[in-house]
């Protein structure tokens, strides 16, 4: 058999973990999805927080970065140097997200594999169950019934009779919108703000469209994942609010707070300098010491 790194390190452990939970939780697949999603969200919580704060930091730096770009237009080397001095690292916001992304894809794969709706997907599942866990195979086939849904089929529990719009896709759209709205870092850059605003409604619609034809089991995963995201936001809210104050960003979540008039007035005038950034710890980008009250005091001074 060919060796697949992604399968070996991500897909297979998650698939087997999901099946193991399914067995332990009384063969309730939705409960297994919920528990595994919670576990993964908890494990990746520090990364999520870092990513949020880092994004806010980068957003706060935008006016200064633009200034530098204008100033050192013909000196790219110097520009990079100045950016580095400022602690600007465009990847720092993405990196935690990039680390989480394979896990999310793996979880998605684990659910589609485990549901094994088609013979081909069952064959695929068979290749990846751990043979040292013999009880896993005895759990097959997965009981795909949950309340009024068949988890392996698209949602046919229509909100309005004869109008083929399922309950779960609608809930996915609503929760994706809510989660995006809360989790999107505010932006002081008008272009980014506009883009964020568009993404806030485009993404839920895209996911919703996908969910109309996808198995309901996946819908439950997105639902749980979105709700967890919202929960995570409120869990981290005190720290995030602290970061917002520190970087002088609009207070409300998402870009909704950055109204066009605000953006216009800001962009028309000389951009206000961002709040003082935390001091650098050594050579790299300034570290974020949000939990320490002394930073707050410094800002007040």
């Amino acid at each position: 058999m060919g060796f697949d790194l992604f399968d070996f390190f991500i897909n297979n452990p998650l698939t087997n973990a999901l099946l193991l939970l399914y067995g332990l939780l009384g063969r309730n697949f939705v409960l297994a999805i919920l528990v595994l999603t919670v576990i993964i969200k908890l494990i990746t919580l520090p990364l999520t927080f870092r990513q949020q704060v880092s994004s806010m930091k980068m957003a706060a730096m935008q006016p200064k970065i633009k200034e530098l770009q204008e100033k050192y237009k013909s000196e790219p080397q110097k520009l990079m140097e100045e950016q580095r001095k400022l602690g600007f690292s465009p990847l720092s916001g993405c990196l935690p997200l990039l680390i989480q992304f394979p896990v999310l894809i793996g979880l998605y794969n684990a659910i589609t594999r485990s549901l094994a709706v088609t013979p081909m997907s069952l064959l695929d599942l068979g290749k990846h169950v751990y043979s040292f866990l013999p009880n896993i195979s005895s759990l097959m086939p997965i009981d795909s019934k949950f309340l009024i849904w068949d988890l392996g089929q698209p949602d046919t529990a229509y909100l309005i009779p004869f109008l083929p719009i399922g309950i779960i896709p609608i809930l996915v759209i609503l929760t994706t919108y809510l989660s995006n709205r809360l989790m999107t870092p505010p932006s002081t850059d008008p272009q980014s703000a506009q883009m964020n605003q568009t993404m806030q409604w485009m993404m839920p619609i895209m996911f919703g469209m996908f969910m109309f034809t996808a198995p309901v089991g996946l819908g439950f995963y997105w639902l749980v994942s979105n709700l967890m995201g919202v929960g995570q936001y409120y869990l981290l809210k005190p720290r995030i609010d602290h970061a917002k104050r520190q970087y002088a960003l609009p207070n409300a979540g998402g870009t909704a707070a950055v109204s066009n008039s605000v953006v216009k007035s800001k962009s028309a005038a000389t951009p206000a300098p961002p709040a003082p950034l935390p001091k650098s710890k050594g050579r790299g980008a300034p570290s974020i010491e949000l939990s320490k009250p002394k930073d707050k005091d410094k800002n007040k001074k």
Partner: protein, 394 residues
């Protein structure tokens, strides 16, 4: 804003290009199936049942989407059977659709003779249907095995259209999906089920004769019947041999992975294969493992034997031909393909995944392909050379 608008347009254009690149018909959800007569092949693959001339692989007719608006726009899967003047095929499972009918199609014209729909809960026919020459045995994803008598047709009105349907002779209900065809021998049916059981039934009446319930995982194969024994593998990595008359366990051998390949018995040896790509040879009377050979991906198709050669098709896109007269395994039973005396110089790479049992016809091996433009490929049994491919490239 203008810059942003440009990005959105670029993104939309890329999405459009990417979706166009994926072109062609979507990959099937079910496994294709093929049977051959002296002159024709009947292939159930994805969205149609095809009758193909073996001489020049031209399409004689096609039952299904795209040929005739009156024909069903559904997915077909599993092995069809010929009974009288009809080709009988089951509706399969597609990426986003399930068809829950069995169709009788005229061998001569390719037009629908009859159709059957089981319970209100009826689902897909994954592995096709079997016959004893009188009845059609159609195992369904709803857990029911339907026995149909196509010699007695009655009229029904389905979706406002007048159609013919065969008499339902009897129904047997298992407690989970039936994703394999039953084996038929000596007036008995042997039906495996995803409910971890194997059932023996009277073929004429559907009366339950015995149940084997010692497997701890689903059974997804059509058992092999030979010498008064029933042979089958299960998803609990175990191969079983039972007394065909009583269902008593004769032996069992634990192997390495799920067994989802229909076994075959030849000269006292049982051949089977697992989803991790191993082909196993076991002694039919004791279950002793004789040797195993490793392919590079899952083997779901039944191995086939012609003379002294065992042909194996794998999901790894390769076709293997092993000369059974000169197999010398290592101490652990392993044989390396490079070391066996091969009928062919090398494995033949068809470049497409294969999940379904190939069929022998004269000097050719006809291999159904799971996905891609080519649906059926013939190989020369002697040297593995590619011969004809269906459909013919224009």
């Amino acid at each position: 804003m203008k810059k942003f608008r440009g990005s959105v347009i670029a993104l939309a254009a890329s999405a459009l290009v990417l979706s166009a690149c994926s072109g062609g018909e979507p990959a099937p959800g079910g496994f294709p199936g093929v049977i051959v007569s002296d002159t024709h092949a009947y292939l159930a693959s994805n969205f149609a049942l095809y009758k193909v001339s073996l001489d020049n692989v031209t399409e004689v007719w096609r039952f299904g989407a795209g040929k005739n608006p009156a024909q069903p726009d559904v997915s077909f899967a599993g092995q069809p059977v010929r009974l009288g003047g009809a080709i009988v095929v089951g509706g399969g499972i597609g990426t986003s659709m399930i068809d829950n009918h069995v169709y009788g199609v005229s061998d001569e014209t390719g037009l629908e003779l009859w159709r059957f729909r089981g319970s209100a809960e009826s689902r897909e026919y994954v592995d096709g249907v079997s016959t004893d020459g009188k009845l059609i045995f159609a195992p369904n994803g709803d857990g029911n095995l339907y026995a149909l008598d196509p010699s007695q047709l009655t009229s029904i009105n389905e979706d406002g259209v007048e159609r013919k349907t065969p008499r339902l002779a009897w129904t047997f209900a298992a407690t989970n999906k039936l994703w394999s065809r039953p084996a038929v021998a000596d007036g008995r049916l042997y039906q495996a089920s995803m409910d971890h059981k194997l059932y023996a039934l009277d073929a004429a009446t559907g009366r339950l004769l015995w149940t084997f319930d010692k497997a701890s995982a689903p059974i997804g194969v059509r058992p092999a019947i030979a010498g008064g024994m029933v042979y089958f593998g299960a998803f609990d990595n175990t191969f079983y041999a039972l007394d065909a008359a009583t269902g008593a366990l004769k032996w069992r051998t634990v192997l390495d992975a799920w067994l989802w390949s229909d076994p075959i018995v030849d000269r006292g040896v049982v051949y089977s294969a697992d989803v991790r790509g191993k082909v196993h040879a076991l002694k039919a009377d004791t279950g002793q493992a004789l040797w195993w050979l490793e392919t590079r991906n899952a083997v779901r198709a039944q191995p086939v034997i012609s003379g002294d050669t065992l042909y194996v098709v794998s999901l790894d896109t390769l076709v293997y031909a092993i000369d059974l007269t000169n197999v010398r395994p290592a101490a652990d039973g392993r044989i390396e393909y490079k070391d066996v005396t091969r009928k062919w110089k090398d494995e033949v790479n068809l470049g497409r995944r294969m999940t379904s049992t190939p069929v022998l016809s004269g000097p050719n091996l006809w291999v159904p392909l799971f996905d891609g433009d080519v649906k059926l490929q013939s190989l020369d049994l002697g040297n593995g050379a590619r011969k004809l491919a269906f459909p013919i490239k224009k």
